[in-house]
């Protein structure tokens, strides 16, 4: 009862939003679609939630075909779009009641599923949804997407623009939902969130770059990666970029992540070069790749 996507393509006029996308999400898996704005994430979600026809290819969700069985899919999935899409002029409770009624159920019947989340906004149940803070809107939207006990939950960029604390709490909620047997497809532009998924698809410009567990993706990073540090960041970056043997140079927190084109690269050579550029306090050491390193390597 997962998701199966086979050779899906979708274009808008000349823009190819999705190009020959295929992947499987196993039942009860927490699967991440990781990519920047414009990668095609929302188009993919809209096709899988039966709001948009693909130009080519087929897909099933919870065993149902996205075109032929669209009504059955709508009853068995929950969808939280990236843009807040509840009724601003209904209260928190009215919104939840509305969605429960539409799906032929009641708040009481599935309260157990949303309790963890809803309890945090219940003190504001008489407030209009439009007057809630960002974090509270997000919790209400998730409650509404869950109230009919869906088999599959679609979350399109639930954490975009959300601060690290709220993001962490949101992912903890997702883990608890997964333990209740729900299959979750979640998209995010934050690469660090990939590590919280069982498996991820890295996506850019409508194409999947790689599908695997987050651990396997970083393990397959093709070359040796180095942390380079010096006192002057700007000068360090420009010097590394003019080094004739550089392969990639990306600022990464307090370091620059550097890869070299040579297989027998000796960090001492680089150090000598950087010193000749009047940089001081130079440190060069091996480091492990992150999902973001892998993404950048795959997308160039």
């Amino acid at each position: 009862m997962g998701i199966s996507v086979t050779n899906i393509s979708k274009s808008y006029k000349n823009a190819k939003a999705l190009q020959d996308i295929s992947f499987e999400v196993k039942p009860n898996e927490l699967f991440g679609i990781i990519g920047p704005d414009g990668a095609g994430k929302t188009t993919l979600f809209r096709i899988l939630t039966t709001l948009l026809f693909p130009d080519q290819g087929t897909a099933t969700v919870a065993g149902f075909d996205v075109v032929k069985d669209y009504k059955k899919i709508r009853n068995s999935v929950g969808y939280m779009p990236g843009k807040f899409s509840l009724y601003h002029d209904l209260t928190v409770e009215e919104n939840l009641n509305f969605f429960a009624t539409i799906f032929g159920t009641t708040i009481e019947e599935n309260y157990n599923l949303i309790k963890d989340i809803y309890i945090q906004i219940e003190p504001f149940k008489d407030r209009r949804a439009g007057k809630l803070s960002g974090g509270m809107k997000q919790k209400l939207a998730l409650s509404c997407a869950l109230i009919h006990k869906p088999k599959v939950l679609f979350l399109d960029e639930p954490t975009t623009g959300v601060d690290p604390v709220s993001r962490k709490e949101f992912w903890e909620m997702l883990k608890r939902l997964q333990q209740k047997g729900i299959t979750i497809l979640v998209s995010t532009p934050y690469m660090d969130e990939a590590a919280l998924c069982d498996r991820v698809a890295l996506i850019q410009d409508g194409k999947i770059l790689q599908i695997d567990t987050p651990e396997a993706i970083v393990k397959h990073y093709p070359t040796s990666l180095y942390n380079v540090r010096s006192t002057n960041m700007y000068q360090l970056i420009t010097s590394l970029k003019t080094y004739e043997h550089h392969h990639s140079v990306y600022p990464f927190g307090e370091f620059v992540h550097y890869t070299d084109t040579r297989s027998d690269f000796n960090p001492e050579d680089l150090k000598v070069y950087l010193e000749s550029k009047t940089l001081s306090d130079i440190q060069i050491e091996r480091t492990e790749a992150t999902i973001e390193d892998s993404f950048m390597e795959l997308s160039t």
Binding site: P36, D37, G38, G134, G161, Q235, G253, E254
Partner: protein, 242 residues
């Protein structure tokens, strides 16, 4: 790098009724510094920033930006700063050139100066082929880089960046930061908010706001020592979770 302070804030407060959205914050930012202004959603960052850019009147406290007083010289502040946010950047239905001309004009540059600078800018960003295309048709990353350049167009002393890199792909995000480093290197002060904690590490100093107050302010290195944290993400989680 000289050490004159281009932003000075003392006890700055903004009340909405009984609620102190910004509660007596104090800090200084030096010329050419990259200053990270962090905080959870709702901590008061945007309200504080609005006071500093001269579009919101403080309830109490003092602040000068680029040497001008936020109470009495808001118009001078606006002329001497650049501003960019993800929400408001450029006009989608104007072309690249039209946007540059428009903002150049707003900031009072002469036609001649706008023409010279706009050609240099288009060349530097490699936008020659799309200079007459609508900005709405450009990829997000290009838009953000152009938007940043436009915010620097009138050579402001300080540029305020409100979550400039949200949703941008990781490579463009880094190109964007290289542009920030370059501007800072040339003496422009950068005041930036972000939800990417790795970007907090790129800043010279970082302040973290919690419930309207600045609860921490130091270099990323010292903050990590102070909170015995591995990364700025950990610092943020420790502070903002209380």
């Amino acid at each position: 790098m000289s050490h004159d302070e281009v932003i000075k804030v003392e006890g700055l407060t903004k009340m909405f009724g009984d609620f102190a959205a910004v509660n007596a914050i104090s800090f200084e930012v030096k010329k050419g510094e990259i200053f990270g202004f962090l905080g959870a959603n709702g901590a008061g960052k945007t309200t504080a920033m609005k006071m500093l850019i001269g579009i919101s009147h403080p309830s109490s406290g003092r602040a000068t930006v680029a040497g001008f007083d936020v109470y009495t010289q808001a118009e001078d502040i606006k002329k001497n700063i650049g501003y960019m946010s993800q929400k408001f950047a450029l006009y989608d239905d104007l072309t690249v050139k039209e946007n540059i001309n428009f903002f150049g004009g707003i900031y009072g540059l002469t036609r001649k100066r706008i023409k010279e600078k706009s050609e240099a800018l288009i060349q530097e960003l490699g936008l020659e082929n799309v200079a007459n295309q609508l900005v709405g048709a450009l990829p997000l990353g290009w838009k953000q880089k152009l938007s940043f350049s436009v915010s620097l167009f009138h050579d402001p002393k300080i540029v305020f960046l409100d979550e400039p890199t949200g949703g941008v792909d990781p490579i463009t995000r880094r190109q964007f930061w290289e542009m920030i480093y370059k501007a800072a290197h040339q003496g422009t002060t950068i005041f930036v908010t972000t939800h990417y904690m790795d970007e907090a590490e790129y800043c010279d100093r970082v302040s973290i706001m919690v419930n309207g107050k600045i609860e921490a302010l130091d270099t990323p290195k010292k903050l990590k020592e102070q909170f015995q944290a591995e990364s700025m993400n950990d610092v943020f989680l420790k502070l903002a979770r209380g």
